[in-house]
Homo-oligomer: 220 residues x 2
């Protein structure tokens, strides 16, 4: 990628560069930390540059969010969607608990943001798209709609919770190179993957749903 430059070899910034820097700032300082002048300093320019590319700060946030939404849907989901076998796809889904630290920080920063109201819309769309995709993946295993939904909610919860644990308690989470990590992922694999039995009788009896008898139901 050849960047545009001036004759004196100084980099010319584009709106995309600003949007990317804003996304990075969201990950490091939160949405409130997306301030024009600090980002300009980080980019080595002044805000005179910014207000040529954008009308105001909100427009920068929108650009960053669009960039984020596109990445989270197109890239991440496509990466899993290439798995055609339903079971392999769900397995791939489970291993996604080990996503990049930067991506997870952006996600949770946006998730807890309140001030520009439209941020919540982006978060909601991305989250819903992810959840729906997971539901579809479980449905492809032969589960009923209700059961696919339950499994997907649990798997999505594990995914989101793992991101938070890795950030809040990095010492408690096994490193990707340790054997404990691979063991934990395999543990999740067993716990988050329904058995063929679940896929078979997925017409829940009114009193005893099929998932109830899965492992015997320990007397509750």
């Amino acid at each position: 990628m050849q960047r545009r430059m001036t004759k004196s070899q100084k980099v010319m910034l584009s709106a995309q560069d600003w949007a990317e820097a804003a996304l990075d700032a969201i990950g490091r300082r939160g949405v409130e930390g997306v301030a024009v002048e600090p980002i300009a300093r980080e980019l080595g320019v002044t805000k005179g540059s910014f207000y040529w590319h954008f009308p105001n700060r909100e427009a920068l946030l929108v650009a960053a969010l669009q960039r984020w939404e596109a990445r989270e849907t197109d890239e991440v989901l496509d990466r899993v969607q290439q798995e055609t076998d339903p079971r392999a796809r769900v397995k791939r889904l489970i291993t996604e608990v080990n996503t990049s630290k930067k991506a997870s920080r952006i996600y949770s920063a946006l998730s807890s943001a309140t001030k520009p109201a439209f941020v919540r819309d982006y978060v909601e769309r991305v989250s819903k798209r992810r959840l729906d995709f997971i539901i579809d993946s479980y449905a492809a295993l032969g589960l009923s709609a209700d059961n696919a939904r339950r499994w997907a909610l649990m798997t999505f919860s594990v995914f989101l919770g793992s991101l938070q644990i890795r950030r809040d308690l990095p010492g408690e989470w096994p490193n990707a190179d340790e054997p404990a990590f691979a063991e934990y992922v395999r543990f999740l694999m067993v716990s988050l993957m329904p058995s063929e039995l679940d896929a078979a009788n997925n017409t829940p009896a009114p009193d005893v749903p099929e998932w109830f008898a899965r492992r015997g139901g320990h007397g509750f």
Copy 2:
């Protein structure tokens, strides 16, 4: 609780009142939203009151965080700790996915906060205490240390993830009064509760860990 008042029936604020208002502000506007003058307006006073009770804004944040840490440890954990039977305790733990919306908003706001560095210390302490408690609860079922840790990590992840889903996708989460909610909780109960078999043979074979054979191991 009798509040102190002046003769003209005007409420006298205490430092605790400010800390509580700050905690509320964290839940509604995030840590950055803890601003002295806005909170003063909400409390119906001016910041002249605040700077009598506190030296500066950081002290207010510390007071709010101390209050939060005390509540999250003493209250919440004690509520579960009253269950003496190990199995009942884990079950009680799982139903805790349905905590108050306000508490969950505070937790995630603090979790994604970056600016005052000491916030992370409080979050880490509270999170670690929660996780350790869950680990102990699973260990009380007879699981080995490694297994208790795995189950606890998954359960804690589900708990944290559920909070986030309820906030980001409130429509996707079943309401507490719907039957779907009770069904989902029972589903979690089965999925997050190890079988007696797990508790029995918890000496992992080197090649085939015991959790591997739990449900047959679907060929990975």
